[in-house]
Amino acid sequence: MHTFISKVRRRLNTGIAINSFLLALLIASALIVSLSLYFIIRGHAVETWAFITGGCIALLSWIALWVTKKKNTQQAAIYSDSHFQLKDSIVSSLEFENGSTEQKYKELQYAQTEKKIASIDSSTIPLSISKKLLAGSLASALVATSFAFVPASQAVLDRLQKEKETKAQTEEIQKLVEAEVEKLLEDLSEHEKALIDSDQIRKWAKELKPTAKEREAMLNMARVKQEIQKKIAGLENRKNEALLKAAGLKLKESSNSKAKQAGEAMSQKDFDAVKKSLEKFKLKNDQEKEHAVDDATKELMEQLKKGEQLTPEERKKLMEEFKKKLAEVRELTKRMAAAAQEGNQGEGLEEGAKFDNLPEDFPLDRLMKLMNKHAMDMQEFMDGEMLDGELMELEELMELLEMLEEMDEGLEEMQDEMDEMDARRRLRQRLQELRKRLGSGMGKQQGQKQGKGLRLNMPGGKKPGTGTDNSRRNQKDEDIDNKNHSKIKGQQGKGPVQKKIEAADSGTGTSHLKGSAQQRDYEHQMSSYLNRDDIPEDMKQAMRQYYKDIHATEQAK
C-alpha cells in the first residue's frame, strides 16, 4: 500500500511540478515582456539582465509553488480514495496502521485495501495540466523570447555611440589639458609664478571630468573657460600699459637719444627693452658700455662716499657729471609724469610718498609721479646750490649723490614693474592660448585628424575624421541634418568690430583665417553662454529668437 501511495504521490507531484512550472513560466514571461516593452518603447534593445531576472524569478517561483502545493502522503491517500472510489479505504488503513489503540478489524481492513489497490494502476491518474495555462505560458514565453531579437533603434544606437565618443573625447581632453597645464606651469618664470596659483590651474583640468553626457561636458568646458577668462581679466594691466605707451610717445618727442630710445621701447610695450633703456639712466649699473658715468667719476663717487677730500677740479667734474645725469633723468621723469598727468587716472601724491609704497593696481602712475617729484627736488637742490656759481661742498655733493642713488631705486622699481607687466602679459597670453585651444581644437595641435579634439560636436553632422573646422566646403557628401537650426548670426554692420589692430608679436598667433576663427570663437562663446545654468531660460529663448529673426531678415534681403 505504501508503494502504491508513493506512486500516486509521485504522479500527483509531477502534475503539480508541471503546472507550477507553467505558471512560473507565465509569471516570468509576463515580467520579461513588461521589462522588454520598457526598453523597446524607449528604442533600446532588451538588456540581458532582464532575461536573467526573468529566469531567476521563474526558477524561484517554480520552486516556491511546487513546495507549497506538493502533496504529502495523507493528501495522496485522500486523492487515491476519491479518484479510484475506494471509499476512504487507504486513509483508514494508514490511520489504523499507526493507531495506538488496538482495532479489532485492523488487519482485515488492511488486507481488504491491499486487495483493492492491487489491481489499480496509479499511472492512470491524470497529470491535470491546464491547457489554457499551457497555451498561455508557451505563448508568453515565445513573445518574451522574440523580444531578445529586437535590436535597438538607430537613434538609440547613435546616441549610445555618441555618448561613448563623448566619454572618450572628454577623457582625452582632460589628459591633454592636464598635460598642457603642467607644461604651462613648467615654463612659467618666477614673476609669472607669483601671479598665479598652480593648484588652481590644476583644478581647472580636474573640472573637465570625463562624462558621457555632452551637455555636462560642454558645461564643464564653459565653466573652465569662464574661470580662465576670469583669471585673464584679473591679469589685465591696461591702465599701466596705456600709461607706459603714452609715456613712450611723450619720450619719443624728446631730443635726448636715451629718452627717445626709452620712449620707443615704451610705446612698443617692449618691457625688456624698457628695462634695458632705464638701466642707462641709472647712476650705477653693471653694464660695460654706455655707462651712466665714466670710471673716473665712479672713482670720485667712491672717494666722496669714503669722505675723502676732493680737489676743486674733482668737485667740479663730479658736479658736471651729476648735472648731466640729472638732466637726463629729469628729461625722462618730466615726460613720464606729463603722460601720467594727462591720463589723470591716478591719485595725487601725498606728503612724504616713497617708492616702496606703490598701489597694487596702478603702480606706474604713482611711480612716474614720484620719480618726477624726486627729480624736481634734485633739480631744485642743484639749482639752489649752484645759484651763486660756486662749487658745491662735499656735503652737498654727498647729498646730491644720495638723491641720485635714491633715483636709482625708483628706476629699479620701474624695472621691476616692467618685469611684472611683462609677466602679466605673458601669462595672459598663455592663458588665452589655453582657452583658445580648449575651444578651437587641441587635437589639431596634438597632430590628430581634423575635427577631433576638444570641441564636442552636436549629434548628426559629419562623422569623426571627415569633418573640418575650415569654412570652405569642398566635400561632395551631404551633411546630415542634426535639427540644430538655431544659427548665431549677427547683423551686418551692427555688431562689434571684429577687426583688431595689434602688433604681430602681441596677438594670439598668426592666422590667415582670423575672421573665421573669431567667428567660431564667438559662436562657441555664445553656445557656452546659452548652456549656462545661471542664465534665465526666457533670456536664452529671447536670444535664440533674436538671431532667428535676424537670419530671416537676411534671407528676405
Binding site: K87, D88, S89, V91, S92, Q103, K104, Y105, L108
Partner: protein
Amino acid sequence: MDKEKLEAEVDSFKHTFREIKEEVGKFIVGQEDIIQNVLISICCGGHVLLEGVPGLGKTALVNTIATALELKFKRIQFTPDLLPSDVVGTQILTENQGKREFSFQPGPVFCNILLADEINRATPKTQSALLETMQEKRVTVANTTHSIGLPFFVLATQNPIENDGTYPLPEAQLDRFFFKLKVEIPNHDEFVEILHRTSGKEQPKLYPAATGKDIISMGKTISEIPIATEVMDHLVKIVRATHPGNENAPTEVNQYVRNGASPRAAQAILAASRASAILDGRYHVAKEDIDKMAVQAIRHRLILSFEGEAEGVNPDHIIESIISKVRKS
C-alpha cells in the same frame, strides 16, 4: 481476536441481515430503503419514526419485521383519549387467596417491538410516558420500576396530512428517535405487486430469520467497526454545520434553521454508518456511509425557524446542501 473469527462475525451479520430483509420482502413490496433503515435502526438499538399517509403498509411493515425477528410485537393506536397508563400499565386490585392486593398490570410497552400508531394524536402526557420508556427501557408505576426486556424497539408512525386535533411531538422527544423515515407512495409496478400479493387467496408465509439474541449480537458487531479520524471529522462537521453561524453552514441553514442537531444525532449517524459499512462489505466507515445516513438521522432534529416553516422549506434539502458544502471544504 482471530481474523477468521472476525470475518465470520461480519459474514454472519451480513447473512442474517440479508435473510431478514428477504423474509420481510416476501410480504412487503418495495420500500427496500425503509426496510434497510428500520433493520439498521433495530440493530443499533434505535427507535424509528415512520411518517407517511395512511395505507402505505407501515403497520404491516412493523408486523412483518416482528415476525421475521421472532420478537414479541404489540401495537398501540394513539388517540387523544389514550392515557399514560394505557401505554405503560397500571396497578389493579386483585384478589389472591382471599387477600386483596394491588398488582401491576403491564401495558403494551412490555414487548420487543412496539408499534405506536399515530403517536401525534395522543396527548403530550401520554407521549411523554412512552418516550420515557423508550429512553429508559423501564417503567415506573407506583414507585415500582419494571424493566422491559431487551431488545426493545419502538416504531412510531405519524400522518403528515392530518394536523387537526394532533399534538406534534416536542423537539426533545423527537430527538429520541434514531431515524425518521418517510414512507413514500409505491410506484406503478409496486402498486400492482401489492395488489397481487394482498388480494390473493393465500398470503405469503413468514418465518423467523433471526432472534432477539441475533439482533443483540449484530449490534455488538456493528459497534466494533473502526472509523478513521478523517471520516469522524467529516461526520462532526456535518452535524455542526446544521447550526446557524457555523463556518460550514450553508446560507439556507443561516436563513431557515433555528436550531441544529445534537450529539445524539452524531451518535445515530455513526452507529448507522458502521452498519452501512458492513453491509457494503467493508471493515471501515467511509464518508459515503456518513452521507448516506445523515439525512434520516438529522431531518427530525433540525428545528426550522419561522421563516423556514412559513416558506415550507424541506429539511432534507438543507441537509443535502450541508453535505455538499462539507464535501467541498
